[in-house]
Each structure stands twice: as structure tokens, then as C-alpha cells.
């Protein structure tokens, strides 16, 4: 199985350079090849389909009042959901990695449930638990807070499905992190708060940002669960993915692709900004 080794390279003189390239090329090729076939080709098909619309038509379909309202609802709600999970994700990951307590393994395992449950089931169970006579919804109802079938419900579904992202991206980094440094900080008299802000948080930031970005992107695209907890009324809690499916089910491919393209472009832009921020942060750090 060692046929990928570089030792048998026929040219011997510029070996170090060659070694570097040959070592580089296989992962590079797999990465680029796979990306092209599996990812860029389908995206190209989408863009090609969207570009069959005249620019004026494209603009018209993309900026109907209904479409505009779905963008706002989708992105703002997803952002809030991702940020909430960012805060609580740090807490949960920290607790799971650093402390021992009963049922820890069980709780750790359960973090992945939002992925494992079909999104439709997630929506169903959230709608049940948070509806006015559900377990949690009935406690909130006297306070005048309605969750199911409102925008809050959309946010709840997004929090639910993106929960694993932050926790799971932070866990490995926390696991690798040396405990000594914190302990050193403590023994030097730093408060918990100081230790957290100055010592623990900075190395976590890249992973945290990644987690939040992944969660955000996933929340933007979520369909299965939101369609059930939301009332799907435009301008109130209709999200973009549901609008796309509505178009698709009417065999309105151009409508679906145009909104799909806009959605893709905005989320990609946001991800790009986050990734740039991260790259910049790293440069700044060193």
C-alpha cells in the first residue's frame, strides 16, 4: 500500500522540490477534482439555469415584495439563532470537555440528535412541545409568548438544528488545549472572568467562528423543520427555502432557481467575509 511514496521517483537531483510537489499533488488533485465534479458542476447548472432569465426578469423575480421579506426573515432569524448557539455552545462544549458529572456520556451523545432526527420529525416535535398546550409552550402562554407558528418558532427550529455545530467544532480544540495555561493563570491570581477572556477564549475564536458560520449557513438553508413550526404566511414567518419549494411544486423552475441563486450568493458572501475575518485575525495574531 505504499505506492504513493516518493522514494521511487526516477529523477533524483532536484529531489527535495520534486518530493514536495509529488507529496502535494495527490491531495490537491483529489480536492480539486472532487470539488469540480460534485460541487462546482451542480452549482454551475443552477447558475446557468438562473441566467436563462433576462437580467430584468431576474431582478423582478428576485425582488418581489414576498421574496424580499423572506430574505429578511431568513437571514436575520438565522443570524440570531447562530449567535445564541454561539454563546451557549461555548458553555456546553466547555462543560462536556472539562467537567465530569452523571450522564455526561449520554448528554454528549444526545448533542447529535438534531442531525439524526429527520428534520420533519424535529419540526413536528418542536411544534408539539412549544405549541400553546405543549410542555414548554403552556408555560410561556401565560406570559403572552407564542412560539409555535410564529417567527419565534422559526428561530427555535433553527437553534435546534444548528445546535451541534458550535459544540462539535469547539470540542476537539478544547480537548487539545493545554489545561496548564489556565491553571497557571489561576495560580497567578487571575480571576475566572479574566482567565476566560484572556486565556481561554482567544484560542477558541477560530473554531467558534467556524461553528457559528456553519450553523448560520445551515439555518439559512433549513427547510424540513421550519415548514412545520412556522405558519408560512408571507411577511410574517415565510422563509426563503419554503418559498423555493412552493415555486418548485408549481414547476416554476426559473422562480425557484432565481431565489435559490440569491440565497446562495448572500450566504456565500457572508461565509466569505467570516473566512476573511478569520484569516485576518490569524495574521494579526502571529
Amino acid at each position: 500500500m505504499s505506492s504513493t511514496t516518493i522514494n521511487r521517483s526516477p529523477i533524483s537531483k532536484p529531489k527535495s522540490l520534486l518530493a514536495k510537489i509529488s507529496q502535494v499533488s495527490l491531495p490537491w488533485r483529489i480536492t480539486l477534482g472532487y470539488l469540480t465534479i460534485m460541487l462546482l458542476l451542480p452549482v454551475a447548472a443552477l447558475l446557468a439555469k438562473a441566467s436563462t432569465e433576462k437580467p430584468s426578469d431576474f431582478w423582478r423575480i428576485a425582488t418581489t415584495p414576498v421574496a424580499l421579506s423572506t430574505y429578511e426573515i431568513t437571514f436575520v432569524t438565522a443570524l440570531v439563532a447562530a449567535l445564541i448557539n454561539g454563546v451557549f455552545g461555548v458553555l456546553v462544549a466547555w462543560v462536556l470537555v472539562r467537567y465530569d458529572f452523571p450522564f455526561k456520556r449520554f448528554i454528549d451523545a444526545a448533542i447529535d440528535l438534531p442531525f439524526a432526527l429527520p428534520t420533519a420529525v424535529a419540526g413536528l416535535t418542536l411544534a408539539t412541545v412549544y405549541s400553546e398546550n405543549g410542555w414548554i409552550g403552556s408555560l410561556l402562554a401565560p406570559l403572552g409568548i407564542k412560539v409555535a407558528f410564529t417567527r419565534l418558532g422559526v428561530g427555535m427550529a433553527m437553534i435546534f438544528i444548528t445546535l451541534p455545530f458550535v459544540v462539535r467544532t469547539l470540542q476537539p480544540v478544547l480537548q487539545e488545549m493545554e489545561k496548564d495555561i489556565e491553571e497557571a493563570a489561576w495560580s497567578l491570581g487571575a480571576s475566572h472572568w479574566q482567565t476566560f477572556w484572556r486565556v481561554i477564549l482567544p484560542p477558541l475564536v477560530p473554531a467558534l467562528l467556524t461553528g457559528v458560520a456553519l450553523g448560520f449557513a445551515r439555518a439559512v438553508g433549513e427547510y424540513g423543520s421550519v415548514v412545520i413550526v412556522a405558519s408560512n404566511i408571507p411577511f410574517k414567518d415565510l422563509i426563503a427555502s419554503v418559498l423555493i419549494i412552493q415555486r418548485l411544486e408549481q414547476y416554476d423552475y426559473s422562480g425557484a432557481t432565481v431565489i435559490g441563486t440569491v440565497l446562495l450568493a448572500i450566504s456565500l458572501l457572508i461565509l466569505l467575509v467570516i473566512n476573511l475575518l478569520q484569516a485576518w485575525g490569524k495574521k494579526y495574531e502571529t
Partner: protein
């Protein structure tokens, strides 16, 4: 050092590994294609048929299909296997146009069959290929209320009252909900009212709809399990079926009502490809036999066969003014006038959403 994407000296070893990897992937794909492909082998003693239908027919077909396969086996000494797919009418239509191997389609709206026809998969004139204009089962719209009907809802008119909360599926995604919408609209225009009045009426009704679930099934769930709303508009057959499954609630069938007619058609291009036209057509014909019609009636559809209809007439409340999609101008006009982008339904929704 070296730059992105530049690989001046090809490395044989890496290349070989890559090739191996690719060929492995290809094998996986080819294998899976082969698994998928062996589905479509129709021989002399075994024939396969794919039925693609909208969701609510499922309970009926579960009973009808064994009856048909048994009858066919006796007559032709050939085993028929009928693969089934149930989903929303719109979703199924899209799938068939994009290449789902349906031999027979049973859809909520004639409009959907027409879309498949337009895509060249069904030959024009399918309405005449089967009895009764290719309508094998029909239903009407019903109003389900809470136990004891506390808000005293009996007619379409009652839905506009203040404080009445109504659950109906979203006409944008649900074929059934389009029928509901047309029933509301027609209850005005078919009894002498003009379109302005109908628009005002339907806007008023949808103002009372706090939730628009994706399809009939989800609207039932919102109404029954999450106990939202005072009244649910649904297919009569869906209500009867829910009653059979234990969700018994009082319901009324308004006397001015729409005849919900669900069309059935053989997908010509696919049956020619699969060489199973004979059995596909026999299956469609079988649906019109009293035997099959009784099964449709058992799960709540109104049968189209006159003798069976007479047998079960007590099961269904009578309708005084029954109108059809044709009375509203036919499906092409209906789509354009009500459900297209920026058409009446969109206008109603933005009027409500913004207020």
C-alpha cells in the same frame, strides 16, 4: 515556492493512486446504477408497474392493488408488481416531468396532468382514454369543527366571522387547498355574486387563517394534534379517513360546494419504454369497476360508478349546488387568475401579511 493549481511535473505514483481512487468511485456509481437498472426488466411471467399518486389515495390503493394483481395473475398467468409513490400532487408532477418512471399517475389536479402532457410524456386526449373523463374518484370540501361545534360553524359565510380561526393548507403548495380556495370563491360566484365580492370574501376568510400548513395532512395535524383553530377545511374523504383512524370530530359539508375531481392517466412515454402498456391500461380500467369503486368509497371518496354511488349514498350529506372547475372557467384560466405569481391569491396574502 509553487503556486495554486500549478503542477508542472506529473507524478506517476500519485497519478496511479488517483486513478485507482477514481475507478473505485466509478465502480461504486456503476454498481449502484446497475442495482437501480435491474428494476426495469419486464419479462413474460413478471411485469412491473409504477403508480405515482398524490398522498390521500394511499389508503384506497392499499386495498385495490392486491385485488388487481390477483385478478391479473388469474387471467394472464403473469405476476404484476406495483411500485407506489405517494407525495404532494405538485411534487409528483415535477418528479414525473424530470424523469420519475411513473406508468400511471393519479393526481389532485387536472392541471398537473396537463403539465405532464405539455412535457410530452402523456399524449393529448388522455381524458378520453378512461371512463368518466378519466376521473376515478371525487370528493367535496368539508368543514371540521371542534367537539359540539362551539362556534356554530355551518356555512362558508361563517368563516368570515370575527374570532373564528380557520386552518387550511397553503394553496401554493397543496392541490387540496386549491380546491378549498376554489370552493370559497365559487360559493360567491356560483350563487350570483360578482368577482369583487368573491375577492372580498376570500380575503376576509384568509384573514382568519393564522397558519397555512404545507399540505392537507399537516393542516389536519395542526388542527387535531396541536389543537389550533376552530375549523378546518379539508377534503371530505380526508375527514372521513381521519375519522376511521380515530380522529372523530363533527364536520359539515356546505350545501354550495365544489366537486373535487382527481384525474388519472397512463404515462404514454414511460409505458412504451417499459413495455407494460397493456397492464397499465388494465389497471386504470380496473379502478372504474364496482369492486375498486367500493374500496374508494370505504376510505371516504365519492364513487363515480352510479351503482356503487347508490349503495353508499347514505354515507354522504347531499349537496344542493355542486359546481366544477369547468364552471370557474377551466384549469388554465384558474391557474392564471388565482395561483400564478402576483395573481389573486398572492394579492390576498400580501394584503393580509402587511396589515
Amino acid at each position: 515556492m509553487w503556486k495554486f493549481g500549478v503542477d508542472p511535473i506529473p507524478n506517476k505514483m500519485a497519478g496511479r493512486a488517483l486513478k485507482r481512487w477514481i475507478s473505485w468511485c466509478l465502480t461504486a456509481v456503476i454498481l449502484s446504477v446497475a442495482i437501480a437498472a435491474c428494476n426495469i426488466v419486464n419479462g413474460r411471467d413478471r411485469v412491473e408497474l409504477t403508480l405515482v399518486s398524490f398522498a390521500v389515495t394511499r389508503a384506497a390503493y392499499e386495498q385495490i392493488i392486491p385485488k388487481f394483481t390477483q385478478a391479473w395473475e388469474q387471467q394472464h398467468q403473469q405476476i404484476v408488481e406495483i411500485a407506489q409513490s405517494y407525495s404532494g400532487s405538485g411534487a409528483q408532477t415535477r418528479a414525473v416531468i424530470d424523469g420519475l418512471d411513473a406508468d400511471v399517475v393519479d393526481l389532485s389536479l387536472a392541471l398537473d396532468v396537463k403539465k405532464i402532457e405539455k412535457a410530452g410524456l402523456i399524449q393529448p386526449g388522455w381524458e378520453k382514454e378512461a371512463p368518466n373523463g378519466a376521473i376515478a374518484h371525487q370528493s367535496v370540501a368539508a368543514l371540521v369543527t371542534r367537539e359540539g361545534n362551539p362556534k356554530n360553524i355551518k356555512t362558508w359565510e361563517d368563516l368570515t366571522r370575527d374570532g373564528v380561526k380557520l386552518i387550511t393548507a397553503n394553496p401554493k403548495t397543496s392541490g387540496g387547498a386549491r380546491w378549498n380556495f376554489l370552493a370559497l370563491w365559487g360559493s360567491i360566484t356560483q350563487t350570483g355574486g360578482n368577482e369583487d365580492k368573491a375577492l372580498e370574501f376570500t380575503t376576509q376568510v384568509f384573514k382568519n387563517a393564522p397558519v397555512l400548513p404545507r399540505d392537507a395532512r399537516e393542516s389536519s395535524d395542526v388542527f387535531f394534534n396541536q389543537e389550533q383553530g376552530d375549523v378546518l377545511i379539508n377534503y371530505e374523504n380526508e375527514v372521513i379517513l381521519a375519522g376511521l383512524r380515530g380522529e372523530k370530530l363533527p364536520y359539515t359539508v356546505p350545501e354550495v360546494n365544489i366537486s373535487i375531481q382527481n384525474p388519472i392517466a397512463v404515462v404514454d412515454k414511460n409505458v412504451d419504454k417499459h413495455r407494460n402498456r397493456e397492464v397499465a391500461e388494465a389497471f386504470v380500467q380496473f379502478l372504474f369497476t364496482p369492486e375498486a369503486q367500493r374500496e374508494f368509497a370505504k376510505v371516504g371518496f365519492r364513487p363515480v360508478d352510479p351503482t356503487v354511488a347508490k349503495e353508499v349514498t347514505a354515507q354522504y350529506p347531499p349537496i344542493k349546488t355542486l359546481f366544477t372547475a369547468k364552471d370557474l372557467g377551466g384549469w388554465d384560466k384558474i391557474q392564471k387568475q388565482f395561483f400564478a405569481d402576483e395573481a389573486i391569491f398572492d394579492r390576498i396574502q400580501s394584503a393580509i401579511g402587511k396589515s
